[in-house]
């Protein structure tokens, strides 16, 4: 067995977490709360490091302009006061709109034009025909401006739905595989790194 205290703590908390498989119990609850506490503390440390490097230290060097985002950031904490909570709208509005603009700027070219361009494949192979048909029919399925009345419209939506089911099936299979891999990692830790039963 390992003699490292960290490994022992990790192993015990792993078993506490998995005890939920039997039923909910205080050990599982403890593991849950400890995770939340450590996660929040970790976020505070890295967040503060960012503030220090990007705001406090430049301010100390005389970069007064940094005072504006610092004040805006501090205004976020007015959310704790019912009377002053309206002040937090300034930083929230700025963060949301800056984030939206950043996302929008790349969307048109990278996620629309280039993706549509990559769909313009020559229809000279089975794979290309399936691919183009898939994209077109899936897009036709999401076209809700008018109800599909003709056989072609309904057929296209049905084919699009079929492609979507294939995609969802791939996703379901992928997620099941992911969780299994994570479980393997935990079992490997318990039996190899903690108990040293397996090599």
């Amino acid at each position: 067995m390992s003699t490292d205290l960290t490994v022992w703590l990790a192993g015990i908390l792993t078993l506490c977490a998995y005890s939920f498989l039997y039923k909910e119990n205080p050990f599982y609850r403890l593991a849950e709360y400890l995770l939340v506490g450590v996660g929040a503390g970790y976020a505070l440390v890295v967040g503060w490091t960012n503030i220090l490097q990007k705001a406090i230290q430049p301010l100390q060097k005389g970069q007064i302009a940094v005072l504006i985002p610092v004040v805006l950031g501090l205004l976020l904490f007015t959310r704790f006061s019912r009377k002053q909570a309206w002040l937090s709208r300034y930083p929230i509005a700025l963060m949301v709109c800056i984030g939206a603009a950043v996302a929008l700027s790349g969307t048109i070219k990278e996620q629309l034009i280039k993706q549509i361009g990559a769909t313009m494949l020559p229809l000279n192979s089975f794979d290309n025909i399936v691919f183009v048909a898939g994209v077109v029919t899936v897009l036709s399925y999401f076209f809700f401006t008018f109800k599909p009345t003709t056989a072609i419209q309904r057929g296209s939506a049905l084919v699009g739905r079929s492609f979507l089911m294939v995609a969802f099936g791939s996703m379901v299979g992928s997620v099941a595989m992911l969780r299994t891999s994570l479980l393997i990692g935990r079992i490997d830790f318990v039996f190899k790194q903690w108990f040293h039963i397996l090599k």
């Binding site: 192993g11 898939g134 899936v138 299979g173």
Partner: protein
């Protein structure tokens, strides 16, 4: 005015960033970069706000002597432990690493891995080929899993290739259709945000 001014400022900032992306004009690019820098600083404050809010909530739970108070106390102990270790001794210190390796790493990995059992339970109880669409979904999931499992190639050597085809052709096609649709939706919701039509993020009317 308590809603209009923040919306106006946000929209203005967003328009500057969008304009800088499409117009090659140095002062605009400099202003855009500065605004993004502000976004980073404000996001760092938001991270700290989330942690402070959590502490506030659990201190209240302890003060009100709620049934979960002992767990809240444990939460606060580890919270302050890792925070003080990280802030005063650094992120490479033994104390910080102890909390990370002893609690954060194993418990988060355990919670994620635990879903494997529940997925297995769902696979047995609810994954039914009840309709044409459900059958397609199941067949696709099985094909991908058999292709990725090394045992699949023992059953039929074509399974790995079939799984890669499923993922690379029909799945990628459907994902692209969804992605294009989602991008159009993102464009419209982004424009609504920039024009101040969508103000849900500001909260209640007070």
């Amino acid at each position: 005015m308590r809603r209009e001014v923040p919306v106006f400022l946000g929209s203005a900032a967003g328009v500057v960033i969008l304009a800088a992306y499409f117009i090659n004009y140095k002062p605009l690019a400099t202003l855009s970069a500065e605004l993004m820098n502000w976004g980073i600083i404000m996001s760092a404050f938001a991270l700290c706000l989330a942690s402070v809010n959590l502490v506030r909530k659990h201190v209240n739970q302890i003060a009100r002597k709620e049934p979960v108070a002992p767990f809240s106390l444990a939460l606060l102990i580890v919270f302050f432990g890792i925070t003080l270790a990280g802030l005063f001794q650094g992120q490479n210190s033994a104390g910080f690493t102890f909390f990370y390796k002893g609690i954060l790493e194993p418990v988060s990995a355990s919670f994620y891995g635990m879903l494997g059992f529940y997925l297995l339970s769902a696979a047995f109880r609810t994954f039914r080929a009840r309709s044409y669409e459900a059958t397609l979904l199941l067949l696709s999931a099985l094909a991908v899993m058999l292709g990725r499992a090394t045992i699949g190639s023992l059953i039929w050597e074509g399974f790995p290739g079939l799984a890669e085809w499923f993922l690379g052709t029909p799945n990628a096609a459907a994902d692209r259709g969804v992605l294009i649709g989602a991008s159009l939706g993102l464009l419209s919701s982004g424009v609504r945000l920039m024009l101040g039509i969508d103000r849900a993020y500001l909260g209640s009317e007070e």
